[in-house]
Symmetry: C2
Subunit: 108 residues, 2 copies
């Protein structure tokens, strides 16, 4: 059975899986905000333009489940929660930066 065709279609499915993880409307913006270090929930709310609380919670949970961010809770009052990129998440920095450059050249 044609190797090339099967490989290509495998690649296509893999790409969709990948986009399922970081292809949403908000993921990359959140990752981008985390490039310069840990951020608290409320900081992220301010740093990601137009996102709402519910979506930020949802995306962060999803990203945590996918090993892109780490959530660390401190038992303070009021509560403190810090989000950080994992190594896996940090590796997206050059890619998102390239995407940004592409956009600056062609979109803006």
């Amino acid at each position: 059975m044609g190797d090339k065709k099967n490989k290509k279609s495998g690649e296509r499915c893999a790409l969709q899986e990948i986009l399922g993880v970081i292809g949403g409307k908000w993921s990359m913006s959140i990752i981008y905000a985390l490039f310069d270090g840990k951020k608290r929930f409320s900081e992220l709310e301010r740093l990601v333009p137009n996102i709402n609380t519910r979506m930020l919670v949802k995306e962060l949970k999803n990203m945590e489940a996918n090993g892109i961010v780490v959530r660390k809770v401190f038992a303070t009052v009021p509560p403190t929660v810090e989000y950080t990129l994992t190594t896996k998440g940090k590796k997206l920095e050059p890619i998102i930066n390239e995407l940004y450059k592409w956009g600056v050249e062609y979109v803006g």
Copy 2:
């Protein structure tokens, strides 16, 4: 007024604009399918896993409006329509390939 802060927030908004263009669920998969040359509408339907007609039409229109693909109609019966990447669209190839590599290493 703080230069660094303004630049950063400008970048964030730009990133969101960019993601508005190619950050949807389907755009990158369609672009990926177009990397190896022009494709007809029906070919794209087959090449992009799980997409439906309505979404493919919508995304292609959007991408055409954003100068990422070119739509060429031939007055045949039944009709033939070819979609091709513009230069702007082609420039995404290395970026999407990097994303794919990232995914292979960390998602799959």
